[in-house]
């Protein structure tokens, strides 16, 4: 094999590399696998219910704003429901909302758990999906009734480990 080096020293270095690299990769892969259930940026409503998030805990909740659920009161408080395909969580938030916030949009809300399915958010972030579509094309699709909005939440993620 021409790839196998001629010098003895280079052969030794290559051998060490060929042994060390898979061990290192396996170690990193195992740590990532172990982290999979614990490193969670946000819970979807179904994962929230599954994990039995305790009241008082600060968490992030990600999902779609349920159409028709947004209620704004004059004191700057917004109430809305975050849903995924299975469950719903109600959110109360006081403050500025990002431009992309609207019904049907993907959002990530961070705040304190105030009930089994209730969150008092201190921050609301908007997600956008991986689709890039020109405005006029979208309007045309809408006219033809072919428009199916997605909000970047359609990929199911494994259910997270519950709190201990």
């Amino acid at each position: 094999m021409s790839f196998w080096p001629k010098s003895v020293k280079a052969r030794r270095r290559l051998t060490i590399f060929l042994i060390a690299a898979p061990v290192f990769i396996a170690a990193v892969a195992l740590s990532l696998y172990a982290l999979k259930g614990t490193v969670v940026y946000f819970y979807t409503p179904a994962q929230w219910i599954e994990a039995k998030v305790p009241v008082g805990k600060t968490v992030r909740l990600g999902g779609l704003v349920k159409p028709g659920s947004v209620v704004k009161t004059p004191d700057g408080v917004t109430r809305f429901t975050v849903q995924d395909k299975l469950k719903e969580i109600s959110v109360v938030y006081k403050g500025e909302l990002p431009d992309l916030f609207r019904e049907g949009q993907g959002v990530v809300c961070e705040g304190e758990v105030t009930g089994v399915t209730a969150l008092k958010a201190v921050q609301v972030l908007a997600k956008h999906d991986e689709k890039y579509i020109p405005k006029n094309v979208q309007k045309e699709l809408e006219k033809q009734g072919e428009w199916r909005p997605g909000a970047g939440m359609d990929k199911p993620k494994p259910v997270q480990r519950p709190f201990q």
């Binding site: 590399f17 940026y41 990600g62 956008h128 991986e130 689709k131 020109p134």
Partner: protein
């Protein structure tokens, strides 16, 4: 071909005349690409802000590509003591670091109006920051070891270790819930970017590659000269 170019003297002789051409191609591609960015349509939900994508996405890709190239060069330097390998890896590091820094910066600028935040510790952003730190660590380690052979060895190992982060950056949006959206280009069923917006993106990707090739050759040449100068000076000081 590789063996032919392995000689630093020959390498500079062959690549020096290429450099003005590469610089010209880079400039043309950037003019064309930036024109297309502004001529391309607004996005249905992001409006004009979508134009940041044309600067952000190629920068992020280059950060990964350059690191992969640095890893390969480090492998050949460490195992085979290839004459140009360490010079090449060292020359690439700051360019890759700038691309990654640009991706982080434009990402923050994009995140502010769209997400409502410049930064979140989600999987994609955290792993991209780690990529940036690997570049910075590589540069710092190389600068801190005076003996060139030892510096090459240590930094090559660091570069190889960092390779493991590349798939993490790429797959982070699939493995974990993240604020960052998923892949748009390399997905089943083809890109989710409309053709009118895909074109400008690809021209910008080509422009970034040309820019990298040009800067890389310039840095490689100056690094070879710097080493020659240091070797000469060392020899003179002994006499």
């Amino acid at each position: 071909m590789i063996n032919f170019l392995a000689n630093p003297e020959r390498f500079t002789r062959v690549t020096r005349p290429l450099r003005p051409w590469l610089a010209g191609v880079t400039a043309l591609l950037f003019v064309w690409g930036l024109y297309l960015c502004f001529a391309s349509p607004e996005d249905y939900q992001q409006g004009d802000t979508v134009r940041i994508m044309y600067v952000h996405v190629p920068a992020a890709w280059m950060g990964l590509t350059v690191y992969a190239a640095m890893g390969i060069a480090s492998f050949f330097g460490l195992i085979f003591r290839h004459a140009l390998a360490d010079v090449a890896a060292k020359a690439m590091a700051p360019i890759g670091a700038v691309f990654t820094g640009l991706a982080l910066l434009t990402g923050a600028l994009w995140g502010m109006p769209m997400w409502g935040t410049p930064w979140q510790w989600d999987g994609r952003m955290t792993s991209e920051l780690i990529l940036f730190l690997f570049y910075i660590g590589y540069i710092a380690l190389h600068a801190s070891i005076e003996d060139e052979v030892r510096a090459a060895k240590s930094t090559a190992i660091l570069a190889l270790v960092g390779l493991v982060n590349l798939p993490i950056v790429h797959f982070s949006v699939q493995w974990w819930n993240s604020l960052h959206q998923g892949d748009s280009i390399f997905v089943k069923g083809g890109p989710t970017v409309a053709p009118d917006m895909l074109w400008p993106l690809f021209v910008m990707v080509a422009a970034y590659h040309a820019l990298f090739a040009w800067l890389f050759l310039v840095r490689l040449d100056s690094e070879i000269l710097a080493r020659k100068y240091r070797a000469l000076r060392a020899r003179l000081s002994f006499n």
